[in-house]
């Protein structure tokens, strides 16, 4: 496997999408062709999209693409930065997904899955379009932190997480990790420990988001490790770190075992 360094191949402040290293000699399996040519990743492929909220311009007309619930949710935020990030994240999610479904961003409808442990309403899912011929509905996962939005799209359940480097000490989070991971990070120097803890966190949260299990059940159920992850098997998922902009760490998890091939998308969906 080619090395994947979470801070490589990135340019801060760009709307360009950041590339994960695709293992040499690998090929991306063909998927279902969407009308505009974008395909739902098949097999072990995952599409990974990055957006920098500082470089995305949204106007009143763009907000019409959000549904009533999303607009109300955005308005409920106390601070403009949170409101803007939420709007950008959900607009970009709709535009990305619309490219796979061949529909308009505004026509997409979302529902909630069920937490496999407690049956509570779980992660957001894309609902099939009603009436039309059945088309593969992609699985997706959305994460945002700081200025960055990360979206993963796959043909089967996928989870993604991104976290900005902590402004303060995060050592207390080690207690929330699996004991094996907690022990692993305990032996590191402070700076390395902070990075290792966030590394564990994004991997574990990505796994929970892939399985649909609520994070309220905790992240301590499985070890995720701190070493390089290019196809780590965790809790029925394959975990891989994602090349992230400086100051961020990210990972995704795809349900099932197998070598995960992140599939670069080189263009951002149009912003009006």
């Amino acid at each position: 496997m080619s090395p994947v360094h979470p801070r490589s191949n990135v340019q801060p402040g760009s709307t360009a999408l950041y590339e994960c290293t695709v293992p040499a000699g690998s090929t991306v399996p063909p998927g279902n062709t969407a009308p505009n040519g974008r395909t739902v990743p098949a097999g072990d492929a995952v599409d990974v999209w990055w957006f920098d909220t500082r470089t995305v311009t949204i106007g009143p007309a763009d907000l019409a693409d959000l549904d009533h619930g999303e607009r109300k949710r955005a308005e409920a935020f106390l601070f403009p930065a949170d409101r803007r990030r939420y709007r950008v994240a959900h607009l970009m999610l709709r535009r990305v997904l619309a490219g796979y479904t061949g529909t308009t961003p505004a026509s997409l409808r979302f529902g909630r899955g069920r937490c496999p442990r407690c049956a509570a309403a779980g992660k957001p899912v894309l609902l099939p379009a009603s009436g039309r011929g059945a088309r593969t509905v992609p699985s997706f996962s959305l994460a945002h932190s700081g200025d960055m939005v990360l979206i993963a799209v796959a043909g089967r359940p996928v989870g993604v997480d991104v976290e900005a480097d902590a402004a303060g000490c995060v050592c207390s989070l080690a207690l929330a990790l699996h004991p094996a991971d907690a022990a692993r990070v305990a032996g590191l120097g402070e700076r390395e420990r902070h990075e290792a803890i966030i590394t564990c966190w994004v991997r574990a949260e990505a796994v929970l988001k892939a399985t649909g299990q609520g994070i309220g059940h905790g992240l301590a159920g499985f070890p995720v490790g701190t070493g390089q992850a290019t196809g780590l098997s965790v809790n029925g998922c394959t975990v891989r770190e994602v090349a992230a902009p400086p100051g961020y760490l990210a990972a995704f998890a795809l349900a099932g075992a197998g070598g995960v091939i992140p599939h670069l998308r080189a263009e951002a969906p149009a912003t009006s």
Partner: protein
């Protein structure tokens, strides 16, 4: 952003070992002051996130999901800090409890638990 510090000036980021309990002047002993705890939680959130604006969270604001929209990592840090600083366990890692509904309900919950003679 690693190592840039909290950026608030209100409370420096501290390494999480050797905690000495409640900070002087803002907490017990002598009875838990909800307003002081509220300020303490605000200062911690601002330091943990590097966002000065979190110093202005009103007590009625929901911390998770709406209004402030803290993520699960920051929420977990907050609960760990409450445990470390006040010795109060706010329901393990469950970020969905009623006591966590708003900044005010959280501060009141903490104050009740650390008030002399209150429930342990």
């Amino acid at each position: 952003m690693s190592g840039t510090g909290p950026g608030t000036g209100a409370r420096p980021a501290r390494h999480d070992t050797g905690g000495t309990g409640p900070p002087g002047g803002t907490g017990p002993p002598g009875g838990a002051d909800v307003a002081a705890i509220t300020d303490d939680l605000r200062a911690f959130l601002a330091a943990a996130t590097g966002r000065d604006e979190l110093l202005r969270i009103p007590p009625a604001a929901a911390l998770f999901g709406t209004a402030v929209g803290l993520d699960s990592l920051t929420g977990t840090l907050l609960l760990r800090e409450i445990q470390r600083r006040f010795g109060v366990d706010v329901a393990g890692e469950d970020l969905n409890l009623d006591s966590l509904a708003t900044l005010g309900t959280l501060a009141e919950f903490v104050a009740q638990r650390i008030k002399p003679g209150g429930s342990p």
